[in-house]
């Protein structure tokens, strides 16, 4: 093999050679324009403030007019859609809610994720965390871990095992290979990303760009409605049974129209009177995907199960013939 052959092969893998490269550049351009539009809409905090009720009120008519004018100019330039100042205020409000939600979820929280089809429960999962402790309960019917939560308390991992009654102490989390991508600290980071990090920011950005509606509820909450391309919600791609799949936050495969990244899915985000997101509902066809937030910052400490069987001790006893 000549020297040039190896470098020819290297150059052959340049992404520029791929048929879809122009499409990728266009997609990146659309993505950056979307982010700029959203950032521009909310990068003027001095000109706005949030009322305790969660809705926005301009600090001064001139200030709002100035900010809204600038925002509209950017939107007309980069998104080419008609946007009113009211929509921009809503965009700023929902972004602030996402930020506040992320901050509230930092120490502790609870989320319940549900997918229904034709009104029937398809899958469900509850996640609680407090500090470095976390509990994950999968309530999906027939799922591999249906009804058997996974728990980490004080650095020890607990679960259920078909061979044992009740809880089993699986061992210290420090024994998990850090490279395996399963350490509880990494899980918690990922959960926080899905609860209030980049996942939520992306959804909120897409809703803002596509046109937001708001509806004030009697209980002081506000429902923000809009559409989000499925690809903005189910970002993770994968491969299953010969088919490309997309995965929703918290690990669920997107079915039906949601599997098409270009499909626009109806999305509703409810922000409570305290300005924190209460739930997110995404609907398409007969499917509904909901994430319900609760006790953000006030979820009680998790407690280690009493009388858990230590798998490690049991194996040591077995090894010594006792």
């Amino acid at each position: 093999m000549s020297r040039s052959e190896s470098f020819e092969a290297l150059r052959g893998t340049n992404p520029r050679n791929e048929a879809s490269f122009a499409e990728a550049v266009d997609a990146a351009g659309a993505e950056v324009r979307l982010r700029i539009a959203t950032a521009r809409a909310t990068d003027e905090p001095r000109l706005r403030r949030v009322r305790p009720g969660g809705r926005l009120l301009g600090a001064s008519a001139a200030g709002v007019a100035l900010a809204a004018g600038a925002v509209v100019a950017v939107f007309l330039t980069v998104v080419s859609s008609g946007v009113t100042p009211g929509v921009e205020n809503a965009a700023a409000a929902i972004k602030k809610a996402a930020t506040l939600t992320a901050a509230s979820a930092e120490q502790s929280g609870t989320v319940t994720v549900r997918i229904t089809h034709d009104g029937q429960l398809w899958a469900s999962k509850a996640i609680r965390w407090n500090g470095n402790d976390v509990e994950i309960s999968d309530h999906s019917h027939g799922g591999p871990s249906s009804g058997s939560p996974l728990l980490v308390v004080n650095g020890l991992l607990y679960g259920h095992d078909p061979q044992h009654e009740g809880w089993v102490q699986l061992g210290p989390v420090s024994s998990i290979d850090p490279g395996s991508g399963t350490t509880p600290a990494e899980q918690l980071d990922a959960i926080r990303q899905d609860v209030g990090g980049t996942t939520l920011r992306r959804m909120v950005a897409a809703m803002s760009a596509n046109g937001l509606t708001t509806k004030d509820q009697r209980d002081g909450s506000t429902v923000y409605g809009g559409t989000v391309a499925a690809g903005q919600i189910a970002r993770e791609t994968g491969f299953k049974e010969g088919q490309t799949i997309r995965v929703f936050p918290f690990g669920y495969v997107a079915h039906g129209a949601a599997a098409d990244p270009a499909s626009l899915l109806d999305t509703a985000v409810t922000v409570g009177s305290q300005g924190v997101i209460r739930n997110i509902a995404v609907t398409w066809g007969a499917w509904t995907y909901t994430v319900v937030y609760s006790s953000l910052g006030s979820t009680p400490p998790l407690v280690a199960p009493a009388h858990a069987t230590s798998l490690l001790e049991e194996r040591m006893r077995a090894a010594h013939g006792r």
């Binding site: 190896s6 791929e18 791609t237």
Partner: protein, 193 residues
């Protein structure tokens, strides 16, 4: 943003958007990650448009920014992968076009076996066409250092690629056809798995 600055930004994306998308596409673990990273790079440029140098130096500035964005993305991705692995009820793996291109798989494997910096200088040179001086700017070292590293990286890449090619060739001739996988995809480039 004033009209002048907006026009400058638009010009920046028109001129260098494809370069940054290609740079990220070569290093990010999936097309969506590459798209995210490229968008982050230009969002940074938009926010700091007054700091972006003029002319060809702007391209080098964007590469340097992309390098930092991708490093952040890799750290963040580890956390996401953790959740997917533990929480996903159904398996997920990133598909790759390399699955039908054994030579590309060999290239990726060879790149993966290089050190991080060797890989970076090689791709900046061969993929992006940067000079040693420009590579030095992206990596934060002097041109002489970049040139030396590039020389070593080229030599190592060639050696590893030839070794892998020989192994691949030997395997195909020493094993029954039925045992040879339809694809030989084990590659890692900038975190690609």
């Amino acid at each position: 943003m004033s009209e002048d600055r907006r026009q400058r930004f638009d010009g920046l994306f028109a001129a260098y958007g494809p370069d940054i998308v290609a740079y990220c596409g070569w290093r990010a673990p999936s097309p969506t990650d590459a798209q995210d990273a490229a968008a982050d790079v230009f969002l940074t440029a938009w926010r700091r448009i007054d700091s972006v140098p003029e002319g060809e130096a702007a391209r080098v500035w964007l590469y340097a920014t992309a390098r930092r964005v991708l490093a952040n993305q890799r750290r963040s991705r580890r956390r996401h992968v953790a959740l997917r692995e533990r929480l996903a009820a159904e398996p997920s793996a990133i598909p790759s076009s390399d699955a039908v291109n054994p030579e590309a798989a060999l290239v990726h494997e060879a790149l993966a076996r290089l050190g991080v910096l060797d890989r970076e200088v090689l791709l900046l040179s061969e993929g992006e066409g940067l000079s040693p001086a420009q590579i030095g700017t992206v990596l934060g070292c002097i041109a002489v250092t970049a040139r030396g590293r590039l020389h070593r990286a080229r030599r190592r890449f060639r050696s590893i690629f030839e070794e892998l090619s020989a192994e691949e060739h030997g395997e195909r001739h020493s094993r029954p056809v039925s045992e040879i996988p339809a694809t030989s995809v084990t590659h890692t480039v900038g975190g690609k798995t």
